[in-house]
């Protein structure tokens, strides 16, 4: 997997050639390791520290997941004390709270995907129709801004806007409603979460689409117009297919974060009153681990979440490759 995103066709010639065809097997590549080391030892030496980083801080924790199958003592070995098999998995599969948070995770993940994936495409298409360049740049600059804020700041702003004395409640009251403590109400949590997510991500999400839109072949529009296609049909039959590779790639990447939905933001925004809709796998395992000090149980949930996430991304990738011929790597 050497590339994150496939270039939208037609990409700059150099780039597409690099990304598409693997380096041909030259005799050089078949040289023995000893020769490679002698020749390139300085290059390898540059890789030592980064590799150490990946092994210690990325792969060791993966192995550390064995504590999901072992009894763990806080002061003992980081790999636990002795095997207990699938005990912790059995525990959470029979834990009714687990299924509640699992459902919440799927629901919030799906809602986030439903809104945060298509809206940037819509905004990019709208921006693409703006004829005044100044205006376009202004809208772009403004809409990117929330992306640069800390989640803590976003959460703080959400709290202020939805508080009893906040703007949202003033609007509610102005239209004759009763003030609602939104963040104390479970039925409002999903709306608040998804809206704030849209607020923070939609502008930044347009960047790649706007870039892809500029690469759509002008002749296609010309041909469509000669065939009598209206602007709407041009958008539908030329523009959207033109940015499809970008859409597919971003969809796959979005699916990759599906299971880990907004852990940090939920942690900041939820409270026991909103647990029925707000509590997701990651926040539940956080409380199990750090609230109840049940590390093995929490690690088992985390492993479950990570494996589902990996399966989702691989499946999406496979389906994308089979059906539309675009995929990561």
């Amino acid at each position: 997997m050497t590339s994150t995103l496939r270039p939208p066709p037609p990409a700059p010639p150099g780039a597409s050639a690099q990304a598409r065809s693997p380096v041909p097997r030259s005799p050089r590549r078949r040289r023995s390791w000893r020769q490679a080391l002698r020749r390139d030892w300085q290059l390898y030496s540059l890789a030592v520290l980064p590799l150490l980083f990946f092994l210690v801080f990325r792969y060791l924790p993966m192995i550390g997941n064995v504590i999901a199958f072992r009894r763990f003592k806080p002061s003992g070995s980081i790999f636990g004390e002795y095997w207990v098999g699938l005990r912790y998995f059995r525990m959470f599969f029979t834990d009714p709270t687990f299924w509640d948070v699992f459902t919440n995770t799927l629901l919030l993940g799906t809602l986030t995907l439903l809104f945060c994936f298509p809206l940037p495409i819509v905004l990019a298409l709208l921006l693409n129709e703006v004829r005044t360049r100044r205006l376009k740049q202004f809208v772009q600059s403004v809409s990117y801004l929330p992306h640069f804020l800390s989640i803590v700041i976003v959460a703080a702003m959400v709290m202020q806007l939805t508080s009893i004395d906040g703007t949202v409640n003033q609007l509610v009251q102005a239209t004759g409603g009763e003030a609602v403590p939104f963040l104390q109400r479970a039925e409002w949590f999903r709306t608040i979460y998804v809206s704030s997510e849209v607020w923070q991500t939609v502008g930044w999400g347009t960047i790649l689409y706007l870039a892809a839109l500029t690469t759509v072949d002008a002749d296609l529009y010309e041909a469509a117009r000669i065939d009598g296609a209206s602007r709407w049909r041009q958008t539908w039959h030329v523009t959207l297919p033109g940015i499809r590779p970008t859409m597919v790639t971003l969809l796959i990447l979005n699916i990759g974060t599906f299971m880990a939905v907004g852990f940090e933001k939920i942690l900041l925004l939820y409270n026991p009153l909103t647990y029925p809709t707000a509590d997701v796998l990651s926040t539940y395992l956080f409380r199990m681990g750090f609230g109840s000090s049940n590390f093995s149980y929490a690690a088992a949930i985390g492993l479950f979440e990570a494996v589902i996430g990996l399966v989702l991304v691989l499946t999406a990738n496979l389906i994308a490759r089979r059906t539309v011929g675009t995929s990561l790597s």
């Binding site: 700059p12 390139d40 980083f53 409270n271």
Partner: protein, 312 residues
């Protein structure tokens, strides 16, 4: 520089986008343009409103806020709460921590990312595919919260700056962006330098990096913003108030009753008097640096993202 400028520099001919498509705008299209303008204006308003609102609240008298009368314009204008927060030594300690953490973590990240990206950009290198794979796999599968916590704790990094700076030193997306950039540099330059007797380190330091100032600047910004904004690592690993970054200071203010005990003396002393204003002031003061540099650095971010997308 936004998309238009980026595309102009990439040398591709100006493609026909929406604006050039019709010979004569139809009536339907003019209606669409009007609707579009309204929608985009709404986007701008909705995006900016929370900022305006928080500034208005920060400058208002507590009484007006509680009465729900502060929206766009401050009411009962005063700077008392700003004075209060700025006089809190813990606020300054935490702010200084944020700066220190951001600088140290960014330096570590840049060094590691640059080295690895440079190695990965060498197509002839034996084992390169495996080295790339090791990095990319971590984008899709991670060890998870608990094993990470256990590891960092057992390494003795708790309550040190290293718990913030080291475990997130390399961001694989940034790594791939940089790798793509290095791959786009012409090989001939480095070959010539090698003939002149420079070794790999010399080539990287004296030939490659001077040519890569723009991308390094972009990476510095990517990492710096991420570390500046981060709070969870600090929340997890730092137990002492004097070690916290300013994001945790804010977090404890907004965390409500449970968090309020942890906040500095000011929340305790003036809890009743100015809690709502206090939050707004802290939000403004933590957001301000980002807002101030944003207009100048935004184009580098856009460039970085596009580089990663198109060439990665």
């Amino acid at each position: 520089m936004t998309i238009d400028a980026a595309e102009a520099t990439s040398g591709s001919p100006r493609p026909v986008s929406g604006r050039g498509r019709g010979v004569r705008p139809t009536r339907g299209y003019r209606v669409f343009q009007a609707v579009n303008a309204v929608v985009l204006t709404a986007v701008v308003v909705v995006t900016l409103y929370p900022f305006v609102n928080v500034v208005a609240r920060s400058l208002s008298d507590e009484g007006y806020i509680i009465a729900g009368q502060v929206n766009l314009v401050p009411r009962g204008f005063n700077l008392d709460t700003y004075r209060l927060v700025l006089a809190d030594s813990m606020f300054w300690t935490n702010y200084r921590n944020t700066v220190v953490y951001t600088v140290v973590a960014t330096v570590i990240s840049i060094v590691l990312t640059t080295c690895y990206a440079y190695v990965l950009s060498k197509k002839h290198l034996r084992g390169r595919t495996a080295l790339v794979g090791i990095a990319v796999f971590t984008m899709f599968f991670s060890g998870g919260l608990i094993p990470n916590y256990v590891l960092v704790t057992s390494l003795g990094m708790k309550n040190t700056i290293w718990a913030i700076a080291v475990p997130n030193a390399i961001n694989v997306f940034n790594l791939l962006v940089m790798k793509a950039f290095f791959e786009s540099l012409p090989d001939e330059l480095e070959e010539a330098a090698a003939v002149d007797g420079l070794n790999t380190y010399g080539i990287l330091l004296r030939i490659v990096l001077p040519l890569s100032k723009a991308i390094v600047a972009t990476m510095v910004l990517f990492y710096a913003v991420a570390f500046w904004n981060s709070w969870f690592a600090a929340f997890l690993y730092l137990d002492r108030q004097d070690l916290w970054p300013v994001t945790i200071y804010l977090r404890n203010l907004i965390a409500g009753a449970t968090g309020a005990e942890n906040v500095g003396a000011i929340a305790e002393a003036d809890e009743v008097q100015a809690e709502a204003t206090l939050k707004s002031v802290t939000i403004v003061l933590t957001t301000l640096p980002i807002l101030l540099v944003y207009p100048f650095v935004q184009r580098y971010f856009v460039r970085g993202v596009m580089l990663g997308a198109v060439k990665g």
